[in-house]
Every structure is written in C-alpha cells, then in structure tokens.
Amino acid sequence: MRTALRIVGELSFTFGLVLLMFCAYLLWGTGSYTTQRQRALQQQLEQEFGQEKESRGLGRVHLGGALALLRIPRLGTDYKYAIVEGTDAEQLRSGPGHYPGTAMPGQIGNFVISAHRTTYSAPFNRIDELRRGDDIVVDARDARYIYRVSQKEVVDPTRLDVVDPVPGHPAQRPSQALITMTTCNPEYSAQQRLIVHGVLVTREARRA
C-alpha cells in the first residue's frame, strides 16, 4: 500500500512539474515560433513591396501567405506584424490572420483580422488599450491604409455578426471600408471575444 502510494505520489509530482512547464511553454515558448515565422513573412512582404511599387491591385494571396503589414502606433513604434491569410490554428501561430472572404485592406466592407491574446507572441494582447481615434495602419501591396478606431466591445464567441460587412447588420450592403480586430477575452481565457472596430480614413502611397 505504501509502495503504491509512493509511486502514485512521485508520478503526480512529476506530472505536476511537467504541466507547470507546459503552461510556461504556452506563454513564453510558443512566441519563438511566431517570431521566426514573422521574420520570414515580413521579409517576403518587403521584397514584394519593393518589386511592385507601381503595381495596382492586391495581388494573389494564398492561405498562410502574408498579405499586409499591420502597425498600431499606440502599442509602440516597433509594433509591426505581417498579417497572413486564414484564421485556422495553423495560420494564427504565424501571426494575425485575415478571415478569408471578408474584405481586403482598403476595400468597402469589413477587413477582419484575428490574433492570439496570450500565446504565440500574443499580437493582440494589448488591443484593449486602444482608444477611439487611435490609428491602425495597414500597409497592403497597393497602398497604405489608415483606419481609425471607432468602437470597442466584448461579446460572446457566438456573436459572429461582428465580422459582417456591416457589423451587426448581416443583410445590409456595406458603404464604408471598415477594419475589425478580434481576440480572446479575458486574457488566458476563451470565454468571450474582444472586438475593436475601425473606419478607413486615409489611403496614401506606401512608404517603405
């Protein structure tokens, strides 16, 4: 009996340690994968930007490929992420993902991007700090688009209407170019979603 207890105890102790370590890995270890992917994706984007300086249109985008650079001055001058196409777990490990089928940067409709809040570099960890009027800068292949934060809300994960072309009005035809950022809320949980909406205010030539 004592022997059995001892074995169980020792195994539990070991398992507990491994579990703690796994949590630490999720928070601080997963980011190194994202960092490495971002380096490659941003390099790829900058190369394309350099080549297609005069080109129009958004170019072709494949699932997992980089489509634009996201900058949010409020979160720091070095805040820069390559947005990839797709929001499956696989793509979100690389960085913020664009919901396929929603508008592309600058287009009329809703440009919806989603990213991790606490793991894999946690690109959207601090989007709760955004205030109405803050800039969201998106460098796409054709131009630089500047959106301005218009609204912030916390909703249930079932509220899929936040990604509609006109958020909250599934049937309406869009007349504005919007951006919507979604992530988990509260931190370390998946109970709710934190949503930040923005409206396109400027389109300008992209600076390198």
Binding site: M21, Y25, L26
Partner: protein, 57 residues
C-alpha cells in the same frame, strides 16, 4: 538522502549516479536540464497543436 528499499525513481537514479555528492549533484542537474530541453523543444511543440486549446487564446 536516505537510501530506501522502496521503489523510488528519484532515489534510485541518485544511487545509480557515480561519484560523490558534488558530482552527483552536477550530473543530476544536467539530467534535469536535458529532460527539460527535450520537453520544451521537442515534446511540447509536437503536443501543443494536437491539444484542443482554443484557436485565439
């Protein structure tokens, strides 16, 4: 550490290590390091995508 007849993984490993206390301490720390590195760089990255963790946590 008290030597014991009962099955005890950690005590067993400790007894099997060569050398005196200092050498054993160094070697056991090394072993712990290797185990941790294996978990961190091989096991966890393999395991994480297979767990039903939420996509945007």
């Amino acid at each position: 550490m008290i030597a014991t007849r009962e099955p005890d993984m950690y005590a067993f490993i400790w007894r099997r290590l060569p050398g005196g206390t200092v050498v054993r301490l160094v070697v056991s720390l090394l072993l712990v390091g290797i185990a941790a590195a294996l978990l961190w760089y091989v096991v966890f990255p393999w395991l994480e995508p297979r767990l039903p963790l939420d996509g945007t946590m």
